[in-house]
């Protein structure tokens, strides 16, 4: 990756802002918003991996839930430390994704979408119906992460740095995968599955791999969410949330697997907040945004510069053609 001076400066400034954000923002509510934003970005990035193989999911929240509930139960029932439950929750989510994925990943297109949605609904029902899992009321009083030295996880700042670490980890892993043989295979499957197969690429195995990694990452932030928020309830992990997570990666841009979900999550989390619309109207608003996007900007927001360029280029060439006619 070659960076010019402008990009390096921009990255440094952005890095400093991100690292010193708790010093700039004093309101705990805004800090909470930013932490939730980071969770959404991680979820978006994770399932963008699956999207990069051409699969659309409406079941991401189920795996987020498995991480959250798994971690809460490990800590509260088995007395494990949060720092052990965090990776364990991720591994458990990964194993469940392996089992479910082996069954559903073979299903083409729409069938896969529906199956992930059904999984999401079943997980939601199970969490609500099974008393051991807290029922519809959810699990209350999930303990904070165990203190490390003087960091006691009482202020939002501590949580912010923890989620920032998880976010950077996800970005690093995603970047590594996308720039590797694996990432190229994923992209080739989305661009042309038939051709990809004739190159010796095992569609099933690569899609399953993406499904497992995405789910593990969702499980990881699930664990964080449970111990940050202190309570979890089935309603949070609804199909609606899963649709949002998928929108994060589509809204930002189809061919921008890394920056796309970040932009997408940013818009989808902050815009309704700034507009201060009620929770009832929010889905209508976001639905509207999505429909407009699909119609006018099918390549996502990040395809905008490219679109403007080709549009002006089109105008220019038309003028040249007209001039040459005279």
């Amino acid at each position: 990756m070659k960076l010019n001076l402008k990009e390096i400066t921009l990255s440094i400034v952005l890095g400093i802002i991100i690292l010193t954000l708790p010093l700039i923002i004093k309101s705990p509510y805004q800090m909470h918003l930013i932490i939730m934003l980071c969770i959404n970005i991680v979820l978006g990035l994770s399932f963008a991996m699956l999207f990069s193989t051409g699969l659309i999911t409406i079941g991401a929240a189920a795996f987020w839930a498995i991480g959250a509930y798994g971690s809460a139960l490990l800590v509260m029932n088995l007395g494990l430390s949060f720092w052990l439950a965090l990776p364990l929750a991720s591994i458990i989510t990964g194993i469940i994704a392996l089992v479910l994925g082996s069954i559903i990943v073979r299903a083409p297109g729409v069938a896969f979408v529906v199956q992930t949605m059904v999984i999401n609904m079943i997980v939601g029902q199970a969490l609500g119906q099974i008393e051991f899992l807290g029922g519809w009321g959810g699990i209350l009083g999930i303990p904070r992460p165990n203190p490390i030295g003087s960091i006691k996880f009482v202020s939002k700042t501590h949580y912010y740095y923890l989620i920032l670490f998880l976010l950077l980890l996800t970005v690093a892993v995603s970047y590594a995968l996308y720039s590797s043989r694996t990432g190229r295979a994923w992209r080739s499957i989305r661009l042309n599955p038939r051709l990809a197969q004739t190159l010796g690429i095992n569609l099933f195995r690569y899609r399953l791999l993406a499904f497992i990694i995405a789910s593990m990452s969702a499980g990881l932030v699930g664990s964080f969410y449970a111990h940050y928020f202190g309570t979890i309830e089935p309603g949070t992990f609804s199909v609606f949330k899963s649709i949002y997570i998928q929108i994060y990666s589509i809204l930002g841009g189809l061919n921008f697997y890394l920056i796309g979900p970040i932009i997408g999550a940013l818009i989808m989390t902050l815009v309704p907040e700034f507009l201060r619309v009620g929770k009832e109207i929010e889905p209508i608003l976001t639905g509207g945004i999505l429909i407009m996007l699909v119609i006018f900007l099918p390549g996502g927001i990040l395809s905008l510069p490219e679109r403007t360029r080709s549009f002006t280029a089109g105008l220019l060439s038309r003028r040249e053609r007209e001039e040459s006619l005279h």
Binding site: R181, S188, Q197, T198, G200, I201, L203
Partner: protein, 260 residues
């Protein structure tokens, strides 16, 4: 022993027999032409050999190994490459990256290696880039390497399709109508390239409509009609074969009515 042996191959789509009881051999280092009128079963034959359709009956062996039941990627891994009838490419990617992805099987790397940019990962990347350029130079697309595939003219897209298949380093290359939609100049370039690929040691099977081109290029030709093999032999033998003339032109009475 033949490189690819097909015995009693039959494929039904519903009640229609696209291929019935087909026997054929493909020998090492030859160029075999498969011709026939529309709907003769040529593409179905390719799709079975490359693992996209399971046959209804029959046996296909490659280097003595039964390949029926293997999936498309496994067949590719054994060394059977193919190009597609329409321009099946990674349209959004550059010419270079299209071929780069083609090297998937021959690219030795673990994900963590590229992450850490280990010397061996960098070496592998450099080596593969060099091999991509070798193929592009061999096929005459080197100057277009940074063009996005969908901006290429049709003829170049077809050549790129063959480049991608070559990146898998096949022993047997199946070319599905590589000359369709090409003007005479592009056609002769393509024929020349196919000959070069054969000379580099790759066995080639060519399905094609363009009779004249097939006659010029292939040493041996098989003619299919209604899913059956109706003739097999040298270009001259095929030209004079009565069954073939009938298949293409209809019987004499029919062709007379057509002329009238």
């Amino acid at each position: 022993m033949a490189l690819l042996e097909v015995r009693n191959l039959t494929k039904h789509f519903g009640g229609l027999a696209a291929i019935s009881e087909l026997d054929l051999d493909i020998f090492d280092s030859e160029i075999l032409g498969v011709i026939g009128p529309n709907g003769a079963g040529k593409s179905t034959f390719f799709n079975i050999v490359s693992g996209f359709y399971p046959p209804t009956r029959g046996r296909v062996t490659f280097e003595g190994r039964d390949i029926i039941g293997l999936r498309a990627h496994q067949i590719a891994q054994l060394g059977i490459g193919r190009s597609f009838q329409s321009s099946t490419l990674f349209m959004d990617l550059t010419v270079f990256n299209n071929v780069f992805i083609g090297f998937h099987m021959n690219y030795k790397e673990a994900a963590w290696m590229s992450f850490l940019h280990t010397p061996s990962a960098l070496r592998e990347e450099r080596k593969t880039k060099q091999r991509v350029m070798e193929i592009l130079e061999f096929m005459g697309l080197a100057e277009l390497k940074d063009q996005v595939a969908h901006n290429l003219p049709h003829g170049h897209q077809r050549i790129l399709g063959v480049c991608i298949a070559l990146a898998t380093q096949p022993k047997l290359l199946l070319l599905d109508e590589p000359l369709t939609g090409m003007h005479p100049e592009e056609t002769s370039t393509m024929l020349h390239l196919i000959k070069r690929i054969q000379n580099s040691g790759v066995t080639i099977v060519l399905v094609e409509h363009n009779m004249e081109a097939v006659m010029r290029l292939c040493e041996r030709i098989i003619v299919l009609n209604h899913g059956k093999k109706i003739a097999e032999g040298t270009p001259q033998g095929i030209k004079d074969n009565r069954d073939v003339i009938e298949a293409y032109l209809g019987t004499e009475e029919e062709s007379e009515t057509l002329v009238a």
